[in-house]
């Protein structure tokens, strides 16, 4: 543990509400390298409150990289400079004395800004509601060990299921595509025997809603994978595209 504080200049995006125009405001801070990025913002907010000024609105909850609530663009990168962590897991020891840090909200057409660094990501839930589930009612299910699932398949499904729904993939993409997020859910179920009955219907419904909410299309630049805090693989996008293609074939067959 080091006790030397870092002196930093922060340029933080402040915006009163969705309609107003935002600007960067500057704050000078001295912060312990052991502090987390969000603890630094807590400190600034306490200082602002002491001066009866409005604290910076930003969201977080678990502060362990699992709930997906936090999400800031730090020096142009969603979740900041360190790969495979969420904003709340970023610690100040990764910055240098004298650094200037730009802090902005996730930006995408489908994520309107609510206030300062807080955005509305509810479109992601609408996609999930459209089909991101397996249709079983409570009770009347077989024993958990009735269907053996090979270890590697189960863990591939688990890897896809690790998505925390933070939306960094959308914020990272120049087209604001949600393909990585949607494909993670599609893949989790497509890999498992339980997911087969609804496999094609699922992907179709989810993609439909995804398009309705103004998420862009995927042009294979892989920025999403690079910024994803959980390392969700773009292999999932390929799997989803295949399934979507199959789904279209099937429905067209039916309609023909």
């Amino acid at each position: 543990m080091s006790h030397q504080k870092l002196n930093l200049t922060l340029k933080v995006w402040r915006q009163i509400n969705a309609e107003s125009r935002g600007t960067f405001e500057e704050y000078k801070v001295a912060v312990s390298p052991d502090s987390s990025f969000l603890e630094m913002l807590d400190d600034i907010n306490n200082e602002l409150e002491r001066k009866n000024l409005e604290p910076i609105t930003f969201e977080s909850d678990c502060r362990e990289g699992i709930c997906g609530t936090c999400g800031l663009v730090i020096n142009g990168q969603p979740h900041g400079p360190i790969p495979r962590i969420a904003t709340c897991q970023l610690h100040m020891r990764n910055f240098k004395e004298g650094d200037t840090i730009y802090i902005e909200p996730f930006r995408a057409k489908a994520f309107p800004i609510i206030k300062d660094l807080m955005v509305d990501r509810s479109a992601m839930d609408r996609i999930m509601e459209a089909g991101g589930f397996i249709s079983v009612n409570t009770g009347s299910v077989p024993d958990g060990n009735a269907i053996p699932i090979p270890k590697d398949i189960a863990s591939e499904s688990m890897d896809a299921a690790s998505c925390i729904g933070c939306g960094a993939c959308v914020a990272a993409c120049k087209n604001a595509s949600a393909m990585l997020f949607v494909s993670a859910k599609v893949s989790q179920f497509a890999l498992l025997p339980q997911g087969q009955p609804e496999r094609y219907r699922r992907v179709e419904s989810m993609v439909k809603v995804m398009d309705e909410y103004g998420f862009g299309s995927c042009s294979n630049t892989y920025a999403c994978e690079a910024e994803c805090p959980k390392g969700i693989s773009i292999k999932n996008i390929a799997r989803m595209n295949r399934d979507y293609f199959m789904a279209k074939l099937k429905t067209e067959n039916l309609e023909a």
Binding site: D120, F133, I164
Partner: protein
């Protein structure tokens, strides 16, 4: 005086739930959609209840203060979920899970509830598998298990180190399916600020829309609170930043008895505090204790680096004190042992910390196996501390983690306000004075999937509650109270921040109502909290306005409630003149420093009735043990 009727069904322990299910009244399927049910909270308990009730055909309104139901604090649970499947053929059974849970809870829980919990545990696993929860599997493709503290069998199911996430996403997807089908209507970014009670019966809730600040009213035939625990009273805890007690506290003030508020769990394996501006504490999953060994130096004030301390100068204190359970001793016992070592001047490099060491396991099993088992936990550790646990032992220390106390409920999970049900960590029901690892997820899902859907039907069919419209004078009265409360907070304009008060309260709680408690300290705590509460209402500064997004206001309301609850926690601890589970009264211990229960006088649930701020009346629900003999809890 409240009448506490536990409504535990007659008959043999093993038959109670089955008989009760049979005897309960049923709602005609065609009438279910005419019943409105409010579910507050979309964690494991709330989401599973909302989904199951929606499937049954009820008209469900689900509320959460999060922007998405998927963000509930359940998402953060790492280690696993228990079930009595006995897949490992190691002698597990419903009875053993029941027994371990009652014993783990230090004989301060209700037998019938715990037995039912163990009974439905197996259904939970089946349900989750069917939903597509990717539990860990063995090479044969079958479900894998591991061991957790307080058990000698391997009954914990897990999904990497992200079990809570996967279980919550399972319940979330089941609920989303109902949202899609129109049986569940979801209200996000709404903070429930009060229940509305008409003629003694719960009829709805009042919430604040966190985007517009509007105070909204919702009515229903029954209300379920599944709003989680209150460990954030300590300011620093493993709970998420926004976890709070407001929903159940306001219900308590409207007449719901609060049970065993002093039973809090201090978890042994958390990351130590790094400094003044620390915002929360991070849990390192207890599963690490399967392979990690806990130790401190035998020498006081030993400032050597851990790897420079030779084997013979290390004290593996859990293995020494509790040879049978060793590093897997229950949480309360392990935490206290760590505190003892620190108090003895043997903390890791002088800090409030002990070592959790994997060297022996790495030598025995190889780095690859350890990486497979704990890779992501090790990564988390390294990200936060900058140290590599493959090379240097972890430093850990106990931290507030879970609250066994909560609103008092009967066997049907109904509080002392008819029509108000409580599920998950928010109720007091199953864990007694100490919760075993991997049992909270089990309880949350048991309540939501398999218990409340039955018992609420019984209430609706039996009591035939009527719907009260939201223009009823009582709704308007509560709305007005909330608006006044908010105006008052905003008008104080004092000099201290909300966090200043919360941190100050946290320090009082941790020092005097924490791992070790005594009469003098508790009396001081009560005085100090009262003082702090007065000061809060004179000197806090809540910045901003009410009709806008205002996180400062949100926090202020929650801290106002902690400042009342904190006093009750201390009062309950003062009243309980014994040591049991997480409640350790220093006056009551054996010569070896173990907890000394007083079964004669304290085999009861304390259910506190709210009279006024700082004034309560104690009601007691006696606990009867028919199936298990009260015994001294030994893990030696």
């Amino acid at each position: 005086m409240i009448k506490l009727d536990s409504k535990v069904p007659e008959g043999k322990l093993e038959e109670k739930w089955t008989n009760h299910k049979f005897n309960m009244k049923l709602v005609n399927p065609a009438n279910k959609r005419k019943y409105d049910i409010i579910v507050v909270g979309t964690g494991l308990a709330g989401a599973s209840a909302a989904a199951s009730l929606g499937e049954l055909g009820y008209n469900v309104k689900a509320f959460t203060f999060h922007d998405s139901a998927r963000r509930a604090h359940s998402i953060a649970a790492q280690g696993g979920i228990n079930a009595a499947k006995n897949y490992q053929n190691d002698g597990d059974s419903v009875y053993r899970l029941f027994y371990d849970t009652v014993k783990g809870g230090d004989f301060r829980s209700r037998e019938a509830n715990v037995y039912r919990l163990a009974e439905v545990s197996n259904n939970i696993i089946d349900q989750c598998v069917a939903q597509g929860v990717p539990f860990a599997r063995d090479y044969g493709g079958l479900l894998d298990n591991r061991s957790f503290g307080g058990a000698l069998v391997s009954r914990t199911f897990y999904a990497k180190g992200q079990t809570g996430q996967q279980l919550l996403l399972g319940a979330y997807t089941a609920m989303n399916r109902q949202v899609n089908l129109g049986t569940v209507k979801l209200y996000t970014r709404r903070e429930m600020l009060d229940v509305v009670v008409v003629d003694g019966i719960a009829k709805g809730i009042v919430v604040r829309n966190m985007l517009t600040g509007e105070i909204e009213k919702y009515s229903a035939h029954a209300v379920i609170l599944a709003t989680g625990g209150y460990a954030n009273t300590y300011f620093l805890s493993t709970s998420a930043m926004n976890c709070n007690v407001t929903a159940i506290w306001r219900a308590h003030k409207k007449g719901a008895a609060f049970a065993n508020p002093c039973f809090t769990q201090i978890h042994p394996t958390c990351l130590p505090v790094h400094g003044e501006n620390q915002s929360k504490l991070t849990l390192m999953s207890e599963s690490l204790r399967n392979d990690g060994r806990i130790w401190v130096s035998k020498i006081k004030n030993d400032m050597r680096k851990p790897n420079d301390i030779p084997e013979e100068e290390r004290d593996y204190f859990l293995e020494r004190k509790y040879p049978t359970y060793g590093n897997l001793s229950p949480r309360d016992i392990s935490s206290r042992a760590a505190k003892e070592a620190y108090d003895d001047g043997r903390g890791a490099q002088g800090q409030e910390a002990v070592y959790l060491d994997f060297q022996e396991a790495i030598n025995r099993l190889g780095k690859k196996v350890i990486e497979e088992r704990y890779g992501n936990l090790f990564e988390i550790y390294q990200t936060i501390t900058g140290d590599n646990p493959y090379e240097v032992p972890m430093k850990i220390y106990p931290a507030p983690h879970y609250t066994m106390g909560g609103l008092w409920v009967d066997y049907n999970l109904m509080s002392t306000i008819p029509g108000l049900f409580v599920a998950g960590e928010a109720n007091f029901s199953d864990h007694g004075a100490n919760r075993l690892g991997a049992s909270a997820l089990m309880q949350g899902l048991a309540d939501g999937y398999f218990i409340i859907p039955y018992t609420i039907g019984n209430y609706l069919a039996g009591d035939k509650p009527i719907l009260v419209q939201t223009d009823h004078p009582e709704f308007n009265k509560v709305q007005k109270e909330i608006e006044d409360f908010i105006s008052k907070l905003l008008s104080i304009k004092g000099k201290k921040t909300v966090d200043d008060f919360h941190k100050q309260l946290g320090r009082i709680m941790w020092n005097k109502v924490g791992m070790g408690r005594n009469e003098k300290g508790l009396k001081e705590a009560i005085e100090e909290i009262r003082q702090l509460r007065k000061e809060f209402w004179k000197d806090v500064n809540v910045v901003g306005v009410s009709n806008d997004v205002n996180q400062c206001l949100e926090r202020a309301g929650r801290v106002a409630d902690y400042l009342e609850l904190g006093e009750l926690m201390a009062l309950d601890a003062l009243n309980r003149n014994e040591s049991c589970g997480g409640h350790f009264r220093e006056e009551y211990q054996t010569p070896e420093g173990e907890a000394l229960r007083n079964d004669e006088e304290y085999t009861f649930v304390s259910a506190w009735e709210f009279k006024d701020v700082g004034k309560w009346e104690l009601n007691k629900e006696p606990l009867e043990f028919e199936s298990i003999k009260l015994a001294t809890r030994s893990y030696k």
